[in-house]
């Protein structure tokens, strides 16, 4: 294909990948915005979503719904995966983060790390060490878009990711609970003095953030065709880089960061051997954290506190 089509193809891929990273990054940024803690377990929540997705999808496939009720099937798969992870997210918050809300940062980080290890190994023990295949539901045809190819699954994922982000934006800016979340993130004490129940607000954040991660997990499963208990790790790193790059705590920042990270990854993969892909990811992360910890859309003083 000629150069312009090639570039367009890369952009499409970057956009696609970036949307997924953005969804995961949103989960990080929301949680960080409200309790100022990196949810190390977020990668595992993402993976859990993928697992529940494959379980539900396999079940629905066996009863033939994939052919007969395609849209409904997808709806159920995503819905259940997100609901499950929302429940799991609340549980994780309650067990690992809430008791340490007033403790030192180090304690909370270690607890988060422990939770991450616990969950990923729990999934390994329950779902097995090897890849779990996702049923093919989208077919292999793709749409031709000015010379670039977008597969059906890509279209679906991009559209769904967009809808979820719009829904999130609506929730955060137009609903009472969403505004309570923003208020709590900005000034917790004042929020309490206005009657906002902090526990409840944090709980809701831990439902929505991880649920978005779960949706991303199902998307990854659908697109790449498989899910593994440890796939959360590398996605976590990338999504974290995206969240920081966009400005931790900023929702539009997470989206922007996701797209940029997706772009970097696609651009890099086009020119360099894939073995070094992960090294690039980590290097980008370190560079972002070193040179621009406040991110592109974040507040500048908040992040240089030691």
């Amino acid at each position: 294909m000629d150069l312009s089509a090639f570039i367009l193809q890369q952009m499409v891929n970057a956009f696609f990948l970036g949307s997924i990273y953005a969804l995961i990054a949103l989960g990080y940024t929301m949680v960080y915005g409200i309790i100022e803690l990196i949810n190390f377990a977020h990668g595992e929540l993402f993976t859990a979503g993928a697992f529940i997705g494959v379980i539900v999808l396999t079940g629905l496939q066996q009863i033939g719904w994939v052919e007969t009720h395609f849209v409904l099937t997808l709806f159920i798969v995503f819905g259940l995966a997100m609901a499950y992870v929302a429940v799991l997210g609340v549980a994780v918050e309650h067990v690992a983060y809430r008791p340490l809300r007033n403790a030192s940062r180090l304690s909370a980080l270690l607890s988060a790390l422990g939770m991450s290890i616990f969950l990923s190994n729990g999934m390994m023990l329950s779902q097995g060490v090897s890849d779990r295949a996702y049923p093919q539901v989208f077919g292999l045809e793709s749409i031709d878009f000015l010379g670039a190819k977008i597969s059906h699954s890509q279209v679906f994922i991009i559209v769904l990711a967009f809808l979820l982000m719009v829904a999130l934006q609506f929730f955060v800016h137009r609903t009472r609970l969403g505004k309570a979340m923003r208020a709590t993130a900005q000034n917790r004490t004042i929020a309490r003095m206005l009657g906002i129940n902090i526990d409840q607000t944090i709980r809701i954040t831990f439902m929505i953030g991880p649920a978005l991660g779960a949706a991303a997990g199902v998307m990854v499963g659908l697109y790449y065709g498989a899910v593994r208990f440890d796939m959360g790790f590398i996605f976590m790193i990338k999504a974290f880089a995206a969240a920081i790059l966009g400005g931790i705590g900023s929702i539009p920042g997470a989206v922007l960061g996701g797209l940029i990270i997706g772009g970097i990854e696609v651009a890099w993969a086009a020119f360099l051997p894939s073995a070094w892909k992960d090294v690039t990811t980590f290097t980008v992360l370190i560079l972002v954290l070193y040179f621009k910890p406040s991110g592109l859309l974040g507040e500048s003083e908040a992040d240089l506190r030691v």
Binding site: F51, I55, M115, I237, V306
Partner: protein
Amino acid sequence: MLGQEIKKLVVYTIFLTIIILPMLGFTGGAEFQAKRAFVVLGVGVALLVLNLIVKVIRSHRPLPEHDQPSITERIADRLHQIPKIFTIGPLLLAAVIFPLVANNYMIDVGITCLIYVCLGLGLNIVVGLCGLLDLGYIAFYAVGAYSYSLLNLTYGFSFWAALPIGVVLGMICGCIIGYPTLKMRGDYLAIVTLGFGEIIRLVLNNWDDLTAGPNGLFGMKRPPLYYPAFEEGGLEMVTYYLTSLPGLFYFILVIVILTTIGVNRLDKSRIGRAWIAIREDEVAAELSGVPTTWIKLLAYAMGAGFASIAGAFFAAKLSYVNPNFFLFMESCIVLCIVVLGGIGSIPGIIIAGFILIAVPEVFRELEGFRMLAFGAIMTTMMIIRPEGLIPASRRKRELHHRRDEAERGSK
């Protein structure tokens, strides 16, 4: 009160059910594996009920006075009063006798325990004394191991010649990894160190020309000892390679003893106090004249140095290194040792190292649950006993106090 607790129990049970049943009930096909799922659920609910019972019992006991030290603290104080000879002496004696009475398998486990203890003590400098959450610590271990391997295989360096080079390389890496994190807050620092750790591992894995990549390097010579002996011409130095397990055990035992003494010295030195000052309140430390930059880099470097020594020994003992020995999971294991033992606590870390490495060996069948348990241990320790099994000092009581005060304040 009881009614509320029971309500909570019901809610928790519902949560557990929702979480456990799908994930443990469905693997492979779409049939529900009832037995496994319900067994785990049952265990979970049993734990919750146990927790409830404990809570109820506790609530009926009178509250202790604020400043009354707990039982473990009183025991620890008593132990401190006994002259060191009587506590450490028997332990050392046991360690010396151990290889003579144990079988090879047990000695091997013992060696592994000691290696991890050495790593734990090194990580303790960074995390425990200085408060820097280094998640990439295992990379320094890898540097030590690979330096020895490459120097020995390519250039024929002996262990003793390669060791200092490995340590220096490790310390340089420590400074390189530490430098960007100097101005970073805890969370970012953790992620950056994690990133560096992974980068080093990935480089070792992918740079086939240098490190033979995933195949690893093998054939390194064991650590040698030299002793004079009478040969034909007169007095000569004979090289004796430690290939026997008891020999290697004593070797690492000596290393651990030296490390312990070293870390203990550092702890009590001015540098150690500077590290602790930084851990408690970096801004205050900076204001009172502590050169935080150098001191932090020093912490990284020293921690890395100890890890390199352990790594070199590991490579020499096993005669084989492979990037998969240095996964992020290993960093987590060492971290778990430090957390369980007690951040900043030397005796705690030694004991925790043995517990966490030896116990899984005993219960070999439960191998899969090892990391699961480690994760649970880390989280649980932070919640119920952040000062670890054997707290570093009386100041650790303040950890509880601080939290209780804050809890009362924020209701």
